[in-house]
């Protein structure tokens, strides 16, 4: 086997081992399957061209995700379909108290629920999670995807996005708060929709109190 072919085989093997993860991240970044496939293909081509810059094969995953992220961000800017959201003051972007579903579930007038967190998590659908992530402004979405979906640590994300670790931390805090706020709205909306089909249900009032309760009721 010649060295080029061996090199390509080993690169293909490494790429195959992370392909599902790359595609999963690309899907949440690009928000649709067709663009996600293009993004992964472009990442693969760029990674092959830059393969000499990978010094340690153990770092292949972080290295190629960095290329994926940068490709997405640069393409996103180039296409300018939606203006890239950048916080006006990145150093203080996490100062305000982030939205918390847990706090909402534990408001005093909701305490008659026995297991509010359990009930809430049980009714969260994958589609709602996807929509909540897709609704995040880019800079927060990328941080949340790299941390919560892909499991990269703060240092790795800092290197990938070329931002300080403190900014990674604050973007995650802000992004998670926004994600929880969007998720809360989507689950509440779904609960309201479900009760609208049951006119006799007192939950049709549209308040958040019966959010979980009405979903735990058995349909007659």
């Amino acid at each position: 086997m010649n060295p080029d072919s061996e090199n390509r085989d080993s690169f293909t093997e490494a790429l195959t081992s992370v392909l599902d993860g790359l595609y999963g991240a690309a899907l949440r970044l690009a928000k649709n399957r067709s663009d996600a496939e293009d993004l992964v293909a472009e990442t693969a081509a760029k990674a092959w061209a830059k393969r000499a810059s990978l010094k340690d094969r153990q770092c292949f995953r972080a290295w190629i995700f960095r290329i994926l992220t940068n490709t997405f961000l640069s393409e996103f800017r180039k296409r300018a379909l939606v203006p890239l959201y950048e916080p006006s003051d990145p150093e203080h972007e996490g100062d305000e108290q982030p939205f918390s579903i847990f706090d909402r579930l534990h408001q005093p007038f909701l305490l008659w629920w026995s297991h509010p967190e359990q009930d809430f998590l049980d009714q969260v659908m994958r589609e709602q999670l996807e929509r909540a992530i897709d609704a995040l402004p880019e800079c927060f979405r990328v941080a949340v995807i790299l941390s919560d979906l892909e499991g990269f640590n703060y240092n790795e994300i800092s290197t990938m996005l070329k931002i300080p670790v403190g900014t990674v931390r604050s973007r995650l805090a802000r992004g998670r708060g926004l994600l929880q706020k969007a998720l809360w709205g989507l689950v509440e909306e779904a609960g309201r929709g479900a009760s609208a089909h049951r006119p006799a249900d007192s939950a049709a009032s549209g308040t958040i109190i019966p959010l979980t309760r009405r979903n735990t009721r058995k349909t007659p």
Binding site: R8, F11, T12, L15, T16, L19, D20, G21, L22, Y23, G24, A25, L27, R28, R33, E37, V40, A41, A44, A45, W48, I101, F102, E117, L121, V124, R126, L129, E130, I133, V144, I145, S147, D148, L149, E150, G151, N153, Y154, R169, L172, A173, R176, Q180
Partner: protein, 81 residues
Amino acid sequence: MSTPRINAIQCEEALNRLFTYLDHELRGHRHAEMERHLKTCRSCFSRAEFERRLKSQLTEMAQEKAPTSLEQRIFALLKSF
């Protein structure tokens, strides 16, 4: 070398550290203080469990199988180089 003292922390401080803890980014005595607080505070423990489960639902969401057409496209692309 003396072992750093593990101080008791208040709920407010525990909540400030919560996501750093869940992200496995807390080290040393700060991590130990957090663990100790979660063992003794039911409210913060419940919050931590909720956030952990929500985070794990997000992680599960990332488990997406790449379509066969994409695999074939990548293989063809790499062969062409």
